[in-house]
Amino acid sequence: MSKTQASPRLAGAMRAPGWLYAVMAAGLVLVVIPFVWMLLSSFKPEAEVRAVPPTWWPETITMDNYTQLFTQLDFPRFFMNSAIVAVAVAAGNMVFCSMLGYALAKLDFPGKKAVFGVVLGTLMVPGVVTFVPLFVLTTNIGLTNTLPGMILPFLAGPFGVFLMRQFIASLPDELIQAARIDGAGELRIFFSIILPLCGPAVATLGVLTFLASWNNFLWPLVVATSEDKYTLPVALALYAVGQNATKYGLLLAGAVVVVIPVLAVFLLLQRRIMQGIAMTGIK
């Protein structure tokens, strides 16, 4: 659609020069090389990973690194921990943030400005500020070294409220007024009229919070004290700086297991994610 809208004369005037495409392509190669190298090297035997000069294409293709990840190390467990935490965090944000987002966008209530101000203000709070009191809290209520202990602090984040408020504010007020005149209660309006219309925004929020949770590091690192509660990034980081840091092939295969699922999710849903970023970034 948008391509055909530009008039031929303008399109001709604005056509980008060929060298720009060449530069963009070269830049893209630089951006993507680490991923390609990571993937290819994860199939090399340990000796070839360390080879000087390095090889591009594996001379011997082996699955050893992956079998070790899944047999000697407990990667299936780390994978499950990451998945459970990320799905729960995404679901929580989708539900709780759209509820508050609607209230902030369309309803009048005392304390509205204060709630929105506090929520926005916490976008500035660095993760390190809360982790000491959170650790004291989770220790005292018995949630340290548990998955709920990793999930609860992120179940309702400020970013989601911001995103949902922005989206719901753009829905027409007439819709709500018409429902009110028809006698629908305020909660009914939210659940049967607004929420179904929020599909795209809720999906965007779900994907973004899933990705953020999957990649989250500091809090899981603090709260997971035994190996069976590690998430993928925690396991990978502790192996990377620990005893196994000498097994390069194993670490690269670990990195593949951490990165590939989210890259797949991203490539499938990239349109939605881009919209979300642009929407919250611009206003």
Partner: protein, 317 residues
């Protein structure tokens, strides 16, 4: 109109309208307020317990002598006033990590902004394959910093690392980037730019697309160079977006941590330790109150920098 009493179904009964008027409470408004608070409650409860509460508690803890051994009995700790803050100011390691964090900020923010803006402007100009390039350049953003740090650690190896091998092709003898106190921190910044510029690029691109094409086209028809058009039309119009980008990027670099944790363990000789790294480390040593005080200084720095940047934004508008 005088027959209201005989038509109770139409309009509100006259009996009710008087108190309503005098208290200025409109039933629909009240319904809204009740519904709004029902909708807000789950979020607010979680938020109070797990975010707002800990933010305040952290401030309180920073004035105590809480250590890991007191965790089961946090009320038994003593109030020590500003002792932790005074200790931080005279702690050579804290001074070092503060300086490092400032270096991350002053190197990382302009570099990330420049790369993101350059790529966004180029993307805005090209018509074919724009979505393809946008997705490609965005890839590093969605990946785990920990995972890509592992990969970069090997790419940057002194001997046999891909970066130095490729530099050798053009006759450059690259150093052991992560092994020297002078190169380790800038190297981590370059890696962080690679990881982060994509999200800013998307924001800048969206900003560029709100600028009407007619304006720059008119300037170019009048003979303005591409640079002049960019400098005098695009940049000023993009100003709010750029400042917003500067704010979120600064907040990110002030919290620098994962890259240093995985790639250098904060070394060599503490040269890549950030304030967040310091806080995590003190927490590990059991110095909980001291860690909270350091975290609060970081928070204060972020708030001040953000307010300053937003003031810049307001002044020029």
């Amino acid at each position: 109109m005088t027959a209201t009493a005989t038509e109770p179904r139409q309009g509100r009964p006259a009996k009710d309208s008087r108190p309503t008027k005098s208290r200025h409470v409109d039933p629909t408004r009240r319904g809204q307020a009740v519904a709004a608070w029902i909708l807000a409650l789950p979020f607010c409860a979680l938020f109070l317990v797990f975010t707002a509460g800990p933010v305040l508690a952290s401030l309180g803890l920073s004035f105590t002598d809480l250590r890991s051994t007191d965790v089961r009995n946090p009320l038994g700790v003593e109030f020590v006033g500003l002792t932790n803050y005074a200790d931080l100011v005279s702690d050579p390691l804290f001074r070092k990590v503060t300086l490092n964090t400032l270096l991350y900020l002053v190197l990382g923010v302009p570099l990330t902004m420049a790369v993101a803006l350059g790529v966004a402007v180029a993307l805005n100009r090209i018509t074919r394959l724009r979505a393809f390039f946008r997705v490609g350049y965005y890839l590093p953003v969605v990946t785990s910093i920990v995972a890509v740090s592992v990969v970069w650690k090997f790419l940057l190896r002194d001997n046999g690392g891909l970066v130095n091998v490729m530099l050798a092709w053009v006759g450059i003898n690259g150093p052991g980037y992560l092994d020297s106190t002078t190169t380790a921190l800038p190297t981590l910044v370059v890696m962080a730019v690679w990881r982060n510029f994509g999200s800013l690029m998307v924001i800048f691109l969206a900003g560029l697309q709100t600028i009407p094409k007619e304006i720059s086209e008119a300037a170019e028809t009048d003979g303005a160079s591409a640079w002049a058009t960019f400098r005098y039309i695009t940049l000023p119009m993009l100003r709010p977006t750029l400042l917003f980008g500067a704010v979120i990027t600064s907040i990110g670099y002030l919290q620098f941590f994962e890259e240093a944790f995985v790639m250098t363990k904060g070394g060599p000789l503490d040269s890549t330790k950030s304030v967040t790294f310091f806080t995590y480390e003190q927490f590990g040593f059991g110095n909980y109150a001291y860690a909270s005080a350091a975290a609060y200084l970081l928070f204060l720095a972020i708030v001040l920098l953000t307010l300053f940047q937003f003031r810049l934004l307001r002044e020029k508008d």
